[in-house]
């Protein structure tokens, strides 16, 4: 058994006696084997505290003590620790003592009557204390850590049915041999089935070399192995990690702490889980249950595997027992990102569909556009052809009108000429009535001549090409008015010109013609008023010029304001005011060809104002 124990220097330093302890506070003493830094103790502590805190109760205090026999071996350590604990806890009340693992339990039971005669004990151990001890004094309860060597080896042999040799790694330092002893007991039954070799107390290098070159059909059972001493001591899982890298056979083991460092798997016990279990027992005792009334239970063990090692040794997950827990499973890319992959794929699909749709749509639109373009082109061709035909027809008509007007003049000359000759040379042979007839013939032919001239002018306007010249509006208006003034010198018309200068691009002939016709009109219709007056003005607007000719003549009814610009439309008889009814039509046509406008405003008896609207940049309008 455990021969020597060592006093833990890291224990709580203040003496219990001097501590100010509230009356209802419960005290729990933890008695660990080994120091506080070993992984098993840390896990157990974590689990224990978590279990204690699972139901809030602040009135308990935990005191930790460590036997630490690995680092302080020696025969008298046992007595030293005994003295230490006795002095430290003398006079204090410990409500429960937790001891783990077996060496601690053994130490405690040995000194219980002297140290803590009234404290119930909760233990975690491999070895079950005999019933008389369990019932003695304030009672003992706890959990038994069943050895899982056999179960684990059974598992390994099932997974590797052709196994011929089993190598058991355990040993150093001295105390660890306990584990080998247990292992030997456990595994002795297998000696007939497989050859079992104990790799005990081998130095690290040798251990690594040995495990790296094991014969075929071997497996390793990793029990316990710590190396070195003091500060540089390698923990058991660290040793495992070192040999597992190069091991030529799969490694099985029983420590949950070792899963993840190279174990394939095994029935493992978990110190943290044990800690939680123990905490439940402690709380029951603190709440009043007698320890001896709580049956001793088995510590939970789990069948655990390292997924990476399963892969390494080619073991299928399907072969594992149903209750297996597989840890460190590396999810496949699919498993890891399934949702995201699906999402991205869906997105991609949607996007692709969308792009395809857009491409198809674009193609369709392109086709439609092409069809439309073709139609447009055809339409334009047809329009162009028809326009050309129309233009030709129109020119033909104009030419026809022009030649008709022309040819009409020739006989007119005969009528006029001979009626004059008759009047001059044969006057004596005519009576008054005959002379009157001849005068009528003469004046009619004059009228007709004027009509033909106006018609010719009108049709010439159509035939003539429109010019786009730079025109100074002021001088042009003034010169046209001056000329009219001279022509009308015999009349008493008062001409008033008030025009603002300004230059435009327009057809000067059309402009002159329009203005002249307006003036002719004004002269004609002021003939019969007492103080005839004609005003000519202009005004510059944003894009155009406005020119007007205002008279104080007879005026007209506004209901005729548009009609007077139509060809052959007259408001008076030719006896009242002679005229062909073409003059204003010429004006309107000339202005329209320049992109301008012509209109008039009047009231009967109030005179009339005739307007020209000329764009500054006139464009030919067909």
């Amino acid at each position: 058994m455990c021969g020597s124990l060592l006093l833990a220097c890291t224990a709580i330093l203040f003496p219990m006696a001097s501590a100010q302890v509230p009356k209802d506070r419960k005290n729990v003493l933890m008695l660990y084997w080994d120091n506080k830094d070993i992984p098993g103790n840390i896990s157990f502590d974590l689990g224990f505290l978590a279990g204690m805190r699972s139901e809030p109760r602040d009135n308990w205090e935990v005191y930790n003590e460590y036997l630490d026999s690995s680092r302080f071996p020696g025969k008298h350590q046992n007595e030293i620790l005994y003295d230490y604990l006795r002095q430290k806890y003398e006079g204090s009340s410990i409500d429960v003592i937790v001891a783990t693992p077996d060496p601690s339990v053994e130490f405690l039971l040995k000194h219980r009557s002297d140290l803590f005669p009234n404290s119930p004990i909760v233990f975690v151990a491999v070895k079950r204390p005999p019933p008389e001890i369990l019932a003695a004094g304030p009672g003992i309860t706890g959990i038994i850590r069943a050895n899982t060597h056999r179960k684990t080896l059974d598992l390994a042999l099932a997974l590797h049915p052709d196994t011929e040799q089993v190598f058991v790694v355990s040993g150093t330092p001295e105390l660890d041999k306990r584990f080998e002893i247990v292992a030997r007991q456990e595994l002795s039954a297998y000696e007939n089935r497989v050859r079992i070799t104990y790799l005990t107390d081998l130095p690290l290098n040798e251990l690594i070399a040995k495990t790296a070159s094991l014969p075929k059909h071997s497996i390793i059972l990793y029990v316990w192995q710590r190396l070195g001493g003091d500060q540089s001591q390698l923990q058991t899982h660290e040793v495992l990690e070192l040999i597992a890298r190069s091991a030529s056979a799969p490694i099985y083991g029983m420590g949950s702490r070792n899963v993840g460092y190279g174990l394939v798997g095994g029935y493992v016990q978990d110190s943290e889980q044990n800690g939680i279990e123990v905490a439940q027992l402690v709380r029951r005792i603190l709440n009043g249950t007698r320890a001896s009334d709580i049956p001793v239970d088995s510590a939970p063990s789990a069948l655990m595997f390292d997924w990476r090692q399963l892969q390494r040794w080619g073991l299928s997950e399907n072969k594992l027992p149903n209750s297996s827990i597989v840890k460190f499973k590396e999810l496949t890319f699919w498993q890891q990102y399934k949702l995201r992959i699906l999402l991205v794929a869906a997105l991609f699909a949607v996007q692709t569909a969308l792009i395809a749709f857009l491409l198809i749509e674009r193609k369709r639109r392109q086709r439609a556009r092409e069809a439309l373009d073709r139609l447009n082109a055809e339409l334009e061709e047809r329009i162009a052809a028809r326009t050309a035909a129309l233009n030709a027809k129109s020119r033909e008509l104009e030419t026809f009108a022009y030649s008709v007007a022309h040819d009409l003049k020739a006989p007119l000359r005969g009528i006029d000429g001979y009626s004059r000759l008759l009047l001059e040379d044969h006057l004596a042979g005519l009576n008054d009535e005959g002379r009157e007839f001849l005068k009528t013939i003469h004046s009619s032919s004059g009228e007709m001549s004027q009509l033909i001239d106006d018609l010719l002018e009108y049709s010439r306007l159509e035939r003539r090409e429109l010019k786009s010249d730079y025109v100074e509006l002021g001088p042009l208006i003034k010169s046209v008015v001056e000329q009219k003034k001279r022509e009308a010198a015999e009349t008493s018309i008062d001409f008033v010109v008030d025009v603002n200068g300004g230059s435009i691009v327009a057809d000067p002939n059309g402009l002159t013609q329009s203005l002249r016709n307006y003036l002719d009109n004004a002269v004609k219709f002021t003939e019969k008023v007492s103080h005839p007056r004609i005003e000519v003005g202009s005004k510059e607007l944003a894009e155009k010029f406005l020119v007007w000719v205002r008279d104080n003549g007879v005026g007209f009814d506004m209901k005729y304001h548009d009609r007077i610009f139509d060809i052959f439309q007259r408001l008076n008889t030719s006896e009242q005011y002679p005229g062909s009814g073409i003059g204003l039509a010429i004006v309107r046509k000339a202005m329209e060809r320049m992109g301008g406008k012509a209109w008039a405003q009047s009231q009967p008896g109030q005179g009339a104002t005739f307007y020209l609207e000329i764009p500054k940049q006139s464009t030919q309008v067909n």
């Binding site: 022009y402 022309h406 040819d407 003049k409 020739a410 006989p411 007119l412 000359r413 005969g414 006029d416 000429g417 001979y418 004059r420 000759l421 032919s445 004059g446 001549s449 033909i452 010719l456 010439r460 003539r464």
Partner: protein
């Protein structure tokens, strides 16, 4: 002047116009004898006569709207033949068409006059023609 003045050739299809022109000249006491041609063919026939030694006119009054051969064609031929190319040709026509005017000048007419309708004005034109082309103007011999 003992010598009879050179004739004036009037190319005119319209009898009334021809008659009126002659009367107008007579009223203005124009003594030049009047030669007549009633269509394009007759007008061109004079070229042969002149080449044969007949007396050439002092000027030609040429109408444009002629039967058979157009006035412009007659003008072109007159101006392209040496015997007639130096005779002043006065186009006297009803047409005031810009194209006709331009074409006539291009072919070498010496004057272009639109026939007035009114008799008085016509008289005046005839008078001006006589004064200008028969009296003032010196044509090559």
């Amino acid at each position: 002047m003992n010598e009879e003045p050179s004739p004036i050739l009037i190319v005119e299809d319209r009898l009334s116009d021809l008659d009126l022109t002659k009367r107008a000249f007579a009223r203005r006491r124009i003594l030049n004898p009047i030669l007549e041609a009633r269509d394009g063919e007759e007008a061109l026939a004079y070229i042969g006569k002149w080449e044969a030694g007949e007396r050439r006119p002092v000027c030609i009054l040429l109408d444009l709207g002629l039967p058979k051969i157009s006035g412009l064609e007659v003008l072109r031929q007159y101006k392209s033949r040496p015997i007639s190319s130096t005779i002043p040709v006065i186009v006297l026509t009803t047409s005031a068409d810009d194209q006709d005017i331009a074409e006539a000048y291009k072919l070498g007419c010496n004057s272009y006059i639109v026939k007035p309708v009114e008799f008085d004005n016509f008289m005046e034109v005839a008078s001006h023609i006589e004064v200008y082309w028969c009296a003032l103007n010196t044509a090559p011999r």
